[in-house]
Symmetry: C2
Subunit: 150 residues, 2 copies
């Protein structure tokens, strides 16, 4: 089973795209409001999403080069061992999948306005999941200090 | 730009697979410990992950039929309008991508032991992201009661 699966590539089709009209594409801004335009035939798939204040956006970081095969990255300080890319949230990873928890500002038909999505204009969106299941929330967790400093 | 992107399918390769040795495959058990076996050449990509107590697992729900084109689902009670699949966390969705926040129990080389991953044996894993960035956590959020009842 595992061997068979390993041979397969998985094909994903975008459900929509990010539309971002910022003057500075590279600006990181947590308060930035972006637009997600879903395919018209998926409009009804958003019904009921207004009941949530926050949703996860899963997207494809299409500007990341697929040729980059980095699996570790260096730390800021010299002499420290490199960090594996699965211990980071950076965009260079085997599958450049982005995951961001955003505030849902507005839904109108097939268009969402969300706050906090740090994605480029034209980014393909793969899935949208509402936030707030008990298992989405961890009361006590451990993460290294470096994680906050990035 | 958007038109060009819309034509493209995105190809993803699994980074590893779930290995679950439960007697009852269908049992939902939040305390179940599963194994994720990463591809050997990605072993170093896990370096540093031990510093985190929780990680997001992004996976491909391979047992979900691609022919199912449902974009809404009925509610439990009669007379209620259907809910869009992007307002649910169910597995039937345009791209059957799973997202679960799990407790990291142990890492040994290319193998992770995680608690709370409700995925079938053989499930392809697409990405692993450590949990605990400030933007992963929402102090106040709104979600409907039905969300807890599923």
């Amino acid at each position: 089973m595992i061997l068979l699966s390993a041979l397969k590539k998985i094909e994903i089709r975008p459900i929509g795209f990010v539309k971002r009209t910022s003057s500075n594409e590279d600006a990181r801004d947590e308060n930035l409001v972006s637009t997600i335009v879903l395919k018209k035939d998926l409009t009804k798939a958003l019904d009921g999403i207004e009941e949530f204040s926050h949703v996860f956006i899963i997207y494809w970081m299409h500007k990341i080069s697929n040729t980059e095969k980095k699996i570790v990255q260096t730390r800021g300080r010299a002499g420290m061992p490199p960090i594996g890319i699965f211990a980071c949230r950076g965009p260079i990873r085997p599958n450049p999948i982005g995951l961001t928890l955003v505030e849902l500002v507005k839904r109108k038909e097939n268009v969402l306005r969300v706050r906090g999505l740090d994605a480029f204009d034209g980014t393909p969106v793969l899935d949208i999941k509402p936030y707030g299941r008990p298992c989405d929330i961890v009361a006590n967790f451990k993460a290294p200090k470096r994680f906050y400093e990035n």
